[in-house]
Symmetry: C2
Subunit: 367 residues, 2 copies
Amino acid sequence: MKLFTIGPVEMYPSTKIIRDKGFVHFRSNEFSEIVNFSLSKLSSLLGNSVKNSLIYLSASGTAAMEATVENCMDDNDKALVINGGAFGHRFCELLKYHNIRFDSIDLKWNEELTKEHLLPYENKDYTSLFVNIHETHTGQLYDIKMLSDFCKRNNMYFIVDAISAFLADEYDMEKYGVDLTIISSQKGLCLSPGCAFVSFSKKMIDKINSKDKVSSKYFDFKDYLINIPRGQTPYTPPVCIMYELQDMLNIIEREGGKDGRLRNVKAKCEYFRKKAKEIGLKIPNYPLSNMLTPVEFDDDTNAYDVIQVLKDKYKIFVNPCGGDMANKLLRVSHIGNTTTDDIDNLIEKLQLSINEVKEKELIYDRK
Amino acid sequence: MKLFTIGPVEMYPSTKIIRDKGFVHFRSNEFSEIVNFSLSKLSSLLGNSVKNSLIYLSASGTAAMEATVENCMDDNDKALVINGGAFGHRFCELLKYHNIRFDSIDLKWNEELTKEHLLPYENKDYTSLFVNIHETHTGQLYDIKMLSDFCKRNNMYFIVDAISAFLADEYDMEKYGVDLTIISSQKGLCLSPGCAFVSFSKKMIDKINSKDKVSSKYFDFKDYLINIPRGQTPYTPPVCIMYELQDMLNIIEREGGKDGRLRNVKAKCEYFRKKAKEIGLKIPNYPLSNMLTPVEFDDDTNAYDVIQVLKDKYKIFVNPCGGDMANKLLRVSHIGNTTTDDIDNLIEKLQLSINEVKEKELIYDRK
């Protein structure tokens, strides 16, 4: 069994068995120390030097997206959303759900976000930009410099879901003036799913602290910010994932820190893309994250069927795309504990699966 | 290191290393099958035969408590809360936060809940009873039959947080007409923290489906209920915990199912209490859950200090009590993977720790 999926991904052996070494109870100084140490390292990987500005929730990434809307937006705000796929759309839905005014830049399939898209929104009354910097649904990586400059020019909060960009693509909160970053455990960090992290700029912390009431108490960032200096959370934290995090941060350190990690992910990504092109696979032309590669299929090959053969016959998991592109696209992730040997095997089995699906479809056509 | 804490607890070796065997991606039939199979077994342990009535959230138990308030109560409702400690108080806070009308039966420390407490609330306009059937804060186990009869007589929804009663004390939703039960992964199930389960009666599902809008989309039970028949969740689930659950359900089956499990927990609980009394420890007189034993200290011995010595010197973790009783009470859990040998060791080290604390306090008094 091998996961080339987008999250959870193939975990590292030492992370997988971390529970076996035992763990302390979370209401203890020992646990607080682990948390403080790990969060400070993680903050530094995020490029955020503000002290006690990183919180963690026992919840999925979507929960952190919603909590961000609840904590960081109010009736006086108006958001602009880059809506280039399912996760951009999710931000729109969440803003709508919470009655926050917003407009969205809706990208069509295969459409690259450019500065022309932003022009109509310059010098308007938008207070915050919401973006999934890597739109996981399509693989498009937006130009963070362009969006950062836009936010600075227009004095907007820069709110980034970096769930599938962090530790795959270059990312630095202070360099790009990011006010809030959402990440989650099961993507670039290769941990068990179930923990979301949110990192804030000083300006964003002030805004959060000025907000009167959040829709759900469980999502009240203020409570988390009060507890985090002593490494604690208002409710039971995902204790074991924090042990996994500690292990993974050590792995990243041994890889040469953020730069080393990014280099390795990029190398695997480029290796896959080269091999994929060699067997004639089609990869979209828009700018791509190094986190995953979308593979596009013509009408004669159903992407979803390929995924099923790959899984059932060869025990290799890649992601479908979902929505309109479910039969057209599959997605291969590069962030997990996979090697070039694994990629060679994936390419070989992908080719076999495609052939099998094509043959079946030919037979079906003849009937 | 040994955990006699209330959750997370000492996990079983096979559960701890389950990730090492590999896991499938969650958007697959294979994962759906695991979920459906496990949830159906878990439903049966809860005594609920309604199909597809058990959902799971990537969140802590408190999140499920809040989601229950959000999904199951509205402006027409009025709740009655048994408030006998920190978790009863939490229900009160959550109801207040969401502007739901409620009254509470506030128990004093050491006060047993009796039918006299319920008398003033008979034949009133209450629509729901909220209770932590085992108030984890004090260890008091309320009389479920008495509360069940009260709800039936008064035509009230019976909403039970069984987080620290399930798999420790006898519990059966249909036998006692329970409409909603909250449990979480890290208590009786001995799994990693980060997953909460909510089980509904048919009547409660109807009420949930009639509710217009929930405060947070992430907590909308309707979305979970729609997805659960195919073993799926609206957002990324705690995949690995679902693998742990499968393993633990097998362990419970090998123990002789629910009855066998309850017998074993009870035996450990009684063994501890007998040994504790032998060394002169004081255990409260109110009805206790088998999940934990509270140990009361006189003014000459600070409970919190005892806990620290036990942890620092002997690497054994028990729980403090928190709040007013922080220096008076410690709590020892009986639900984890601990043996009578472990209990013997705990008792020995507890005695040594108490002596050490007493000596220090004597020296301090003399100064």
